[in-house]
């Protein structure tokens, strides 16, 4: 039941096609922009998104620039947060509670999971409230709203990249050489990105109408950390429950990271497939929910 009557942009070039080719001579035969009510589910309108790709870049760039303005240690925060968490985890879970770590030194074991986890947690915190933080834009200018949460998640990627350097340092220190599996790492980064964006789409769209979401997010990330194998290996979960465990997409992401980087003996196949399937559902569902709610954003926000 998809009725594609959303703002049907039929123009050949979007507003202001790249260069001077939009002179008056080009006016003839360029179909007009039609603004009318939409009903039901809206199409994605990829052309519009593509047209505004530079805005996505500028919004991400803005958030990256502004993020650590007027902080004393700047981007070091990106490293410090997962690093200190790793230290605490190593002492409490590694030393005191003697949580097994699949034969890898516990600090590396937890840090390799804290990387995607920190990315995910900051991304949904930032992007989940992003529409409301950018309220002045949403209520005063038109642009594809999808750009706002997407930029929010992309900002996290920058922190992620910085913290990654530290992981390599640690692996060097412990003499861990990744195997051929490291080639699959980009796939897991993508999976982490899609998970974060998928969740953010839902949260940000809901937050426009229900500001409760803002207060739910800290609780959600805390809760989620416990059900994700960050401090403990997923091998602690009984075999028969692993697939079910995979319903938590971050479980798949984290285990994937560990496998790709640290080369645990065998690939955690089934669980990751379940996680990937959940991510796809979350992501696609999020996209459509977001698009459906989008038309009300300016009125409700």
């Amino acid at each position: 039941m998809r009725v594609e009557t959303e703002l049907t942009r039929k123009r050949l070039a979007g507003p202001g096609g790249t260069d001077g080719d939009r002179g008056t001579s080009g006016q003839e035969g360029v179909p007009p922009l039609l603004i009318k009510p939409t009903r039901g589910w809206a199409a994605l309108n990829l052309r519009d998104l593509w047209h505004y790709r530079e805005l996505l870049y500028f919004m991400t760039w803005r958030d990256v620039k502004v993020r650590y303005k007027q902080t004393a240690i700047g981007a070091a925060w990106a490293v410090l947060q997962p690093f200190l968490t790793m230290v605490v985890f190593s002492v409490i879970f590694g030393r005191l509670a003697k949580v097994p770590s699949d034969g890898v030194p516990y600090p590396v074991f937890s840090f390799s999971a804290l990387l995607p986890w920190t990315f995910f947690a900051t991304a949904i915190t930032q992007a989940g409230t992003s529409l409301v933080t950018n309220i002045n834009l949403v209520s005063k200018v038109y642009f594809p709203r999808l750009i706002v949460p997407t930029a929010g998640v992309l900002v996290g990627i920058v922190d992620f990249a910085v913290a990654f350097v530290v992981l390599f340092g640690m692996m060097l220190f412990y003499g861990i050489v990744p195997g051929i599996a490291v080639l699959t790492l980009p796939l897991f980064v993508l999976l982490a990105f899609m998970t974060a964006l998928g969740i953010s789409l839902w949260l940000s769209a809901l937050n426009v109408k229900y500001r409760d979401i803002r207060y739910t997010i800290p609780f959600l990330t805390q809760f989620w950390l416990f059900v994700t194998p960050v401090a403990y290996p997923s091998s602690m979960i009984p075999e028969q429950w692993r697939l079910l465990y995979g319903l938590n997409p971050m479980a798949g992401v984290v285990e994937g990271f560990r496998w790709a980087l640290l080369g645990s003996e065998r690939a955690p196949g089934g669980m990751i497939l379940v996680s990937a399937a959940v991510v796809v559902v979350l992501f696609v569902g999020g996209l459509f929910y977001f698009r459906r709610m989008e038309r009300e954003f300016a009125d409700v926000i």
Partner: protein
């Protein structure tokens, strides 16, 4: 002939729901309250569709030809902003459609998306991108933007350190270099100093002369008359008149004059649902008589009857006086004084103006009760009219000034040898 038309609007309508999920919350307390209300609300929604509907815009149709400058005027709440929001694609219409031929640049607010921490240079790129410009276009227009805004020296300073004038100049300058085929402008000229306003109006005039289409919403009748080639008057969400600029502006000014009465009487209080309401309001002259016309220079008072349904700590009153061009002439707030009546009951509240410096003419008075700083208790826009006659309060004095002075005083002349 079809390509001559830049904007065609057919039966456009926009419905809002009042109450229900449209309640604006923002503070922690409000959120908790709303959190508590969630289950309740679900029940209410299930039981009956309790939303009241409100059409901000109804059956609006018009056409704008390429190169025309259409002025849109009307009182606050007439639907002007809603119309612009629909045409800028920020919100969707409920009915009808609009057809737009050409690239649209819309300026509903100058400086949207400026980030205070970023420098002028960075904000030019960010704001340009937000307004829909490509990086290449911004590069090309960059020097011109900086020059028009006169901020060369502060290009690498964060805009949070800018003066408000610099901020506005930069913001307008970026928007002015957007070079759209259709420009949609909402009242952006209401800000900034006189020189800058003049510069902006000049730039808008240039845009129009270049054969671009402009849709201009304003309360500034002088600017509308100067810039626009066509005008449309909106009232209660629909088109009242459209056509010749002078006719429409005239209708508007006349209309405002005749629709408000000299005294105000609340008819139905039950649907207000507030904690207090304004029951009656009128202007009284220096002799204490209710009137709609006060002599030039004569002290007068606005007398109101307020009914407080419960104790309202922090209740204050405000009176705003506008001229017929919708310019705010003055505002008086009881919060500036020690006056306070917070308890339940019926009160006669009077605000005396001892120094009447209003030039002869007609004025509109809006009255409101507030709990500062956020919530309004009962606000009546265009509540009563006040007209100041040319006859002066002191004998052997006749007001004969032509032109449009901001204030008018009684001069006490004397000659000595």
């Amino acid at each position: 002939m079809m390509s001559e038309i830049a904007i065609r609007v057919e039966d456009l309508g926009k419905r809002y729901r009042i109450g229900g999920p449209k309640e604006a919350y923002g503070t922690l307390r409000d959120s908790l309250v709303s959190l508590a209300k969630v289950p309740l609300r679900a029940v209410q929604r299930g039981r009956a569709n309790g939303h009241r509907e409100f059409w901000a815009l109804r059956d609006v149709s018009f056409e704008v030809k390429r190169g025309e400058v259409l002025g849109v005027i009307g009182r606050n709440g007439a639907g002007k902003s809603t119309l612009l929001k629909i045409l800028s694609r920020i919100t969707e219409p409920t009915t009808g459609y609009a057809e737009i031929r050409g690239r649209v640049g819309s300026l509903l607010e100058v400086g949207t998306g400026f980030h205070p921490e970023l420098t002028g240079r960075e904000n030019i790129y960010l704001n340009g991108a937000i307004l829909g410009m490509k990086k290449a276009e911004i590069d090309r227009a960059f020097d011109e933007i900086v020059e028009f805004a006169e901020i060369e020296k502060f290009l690498d300073t964060p805009v949070k350190r800018y003066s408000s004038g610099m901020y506005m100049r930069l913001a307008f300058s970026i928007a002015a270099h957007l070079e759209p085929e259709i420009l949609i402008v909402d009242e952006v000229l209401a800000v900034g100093d006189a020189t800058f306003q003049k510069k902006c109006l000049g730039k808008m005039g240039d845009v129009a002369k270049q054969g671009r289409t402009v849709l201009f919403v304003s309360h500034n009748m002088a600017a509308v008359q100067r810039l626009c080639t066509k005008c449309m008057l909106l009232a209660d969400g629909s088109v009242q008149v459209q056509g010749d600029v002078h006719h429409v502006v005239h209708d508007y000014v006349d209309g405002t004059r005749s629709t408000i009465r000299s005294s105000y009487q609340l008819i139905e209080s039950s649907q207000l649902g507030g904690k207090a309401f304004l029951e009656h309001a009128a202007v009284v002259n220096s002799k204490g008589k209710v009137t709609d016309s006060v002599l030039f220079g004569e002290p007068f008072a606005v007398r109101m009857i307020w009914q407080n349904l419960c104790d309202i700590p922090g209740l204050s009153y405000a009176i705003r006086i506008f001229d017929m061009h919708d310019r705010l002439i003055t505002a008086v707030n009881s919060i500036d004084t020690s006056l306070s009546i917070a308890s339940r009951g019926k009160y006669v509240v009077e605000c005396r103006v001892n120094h009447n410096m209003f030039p002869p003419g007609d004025y509109r008075i809006s009255i409101g009760g507030y709990i500062r700083p956020h919530s309004s208790i009962h606000v009546v826009d265009n509540c009563i009219v006040l007209s100041i006659s040319k006859m002066a309060y002191s004998k052997d004095y006749q007001y004969n000034i032509s032109g449009d002075p901001a204030v008018a005083v009684l001069g006490h002349w004397s000659i000595h040898s």
